[in-house]
């Protein structure tokens, strides 16, 4: 069966520090991968989408970047965090053409 792992679960980082959130998927190959951000009490915003290794599209201009060095690994990064980067970050995967996306448990990032 397929599983998605996302870590860490919570993270408190100072302003200006770097960020690296990792997401891995098991049990499937060539998944579509997604990074979403959810501000407290609000909706999910699509940040990055990837259809394959090193193939990433950015949905909104921002202080973050994403990389996909391996087929089932998706990394969200920042060189210098801003206060506005605080939020709940969710990684998800889907099979090409299917409508169901499977989400990880999320990382709650607080920038202080």
């Amino acid at each position: 069966s397929q599983t998605i792992h996302q870590w860490p679960a919570t993270l408190v980082q100072p302003v200006g520090s770097p960020l690296s959130l990792e997401c891995t998927v098991e049990g499937t190959s060539n998944p579509n991968l997604y990074w979403y951000r959810q501000a407290a009490g609000r909706g999910l915003q699509l940040l990055f989408y990837s259809i394959g290794i090193d193939q990433i599209s950015s949905e909104v201009p921002q202080n973050l970047s994403a990389s996909r060095p391996q087929d089932r690994q998706f990394i969200l990064s920042s060189k210098k965090l801003l206060l506005s980067d605080s939020g709940f970050y969710l990684c998800a995967w889907s099979n090409w053409g299917e409508t169901e996306a499977f989400f990880g448990q999320g990382t709650r990032l607080t920038v202080v």
């Binding site: 979403y36 609000r42 909706g43 999910l44």
Partner: protein, 113 residues
């Protein structure tokens, strides 16, 4: 996605009553609409989808209605139970550039025992 900056609307229903959660969309290019349920502190979970050329689809205790004329989507939950308390999101899939899913603001459903 649209409206991600708005605060969540809320809905409270008595246990056993039916719930109706609404969603408006703006993009006519979406080929599927999907409902997700998100429990506190967790990632969203898929509930049901509907293709854009359909107007109704039923699942177990849930029914999704799609009105393309007014770009409106609804999720009906029959005999609402305490375990249904969660935030519900509608999402659109747009295939013209890939397999991206764009989420609405969400509605917080509270079931009163």
């Amino acid at each position: 996605g649209e409206n991600v900056g708005l605060h969540l609307p809320t809905l409270s229903v008595q246990e056993g009553d039916n719930s109706i959660i609404n969603c408006a969309y703006s993009n006519s290019a979406s080929d599927y609409f999907i409902w997700y349920k998100q429990e506190s502190g967790k990632g969203p979970q898929f509930i049901i989808d509907i293709r854009s050329n359909m107007d109704k689809r039923q699942g177990q205790r849930v029914t999704v209605l799609l009105n393309k004329t007014v770009k409106h989507l609804s999720l009906q939950i029959a005999a609402t139970q305490p375990g249904d308390s969660a935030v519900y999101f509608c999402a659109e899939r747009r295939r013209q550039t890939g397999n991206q899913f764009y989420f609405g603001t969400g509605t917080s459903l509270t079931v009163i025992p």
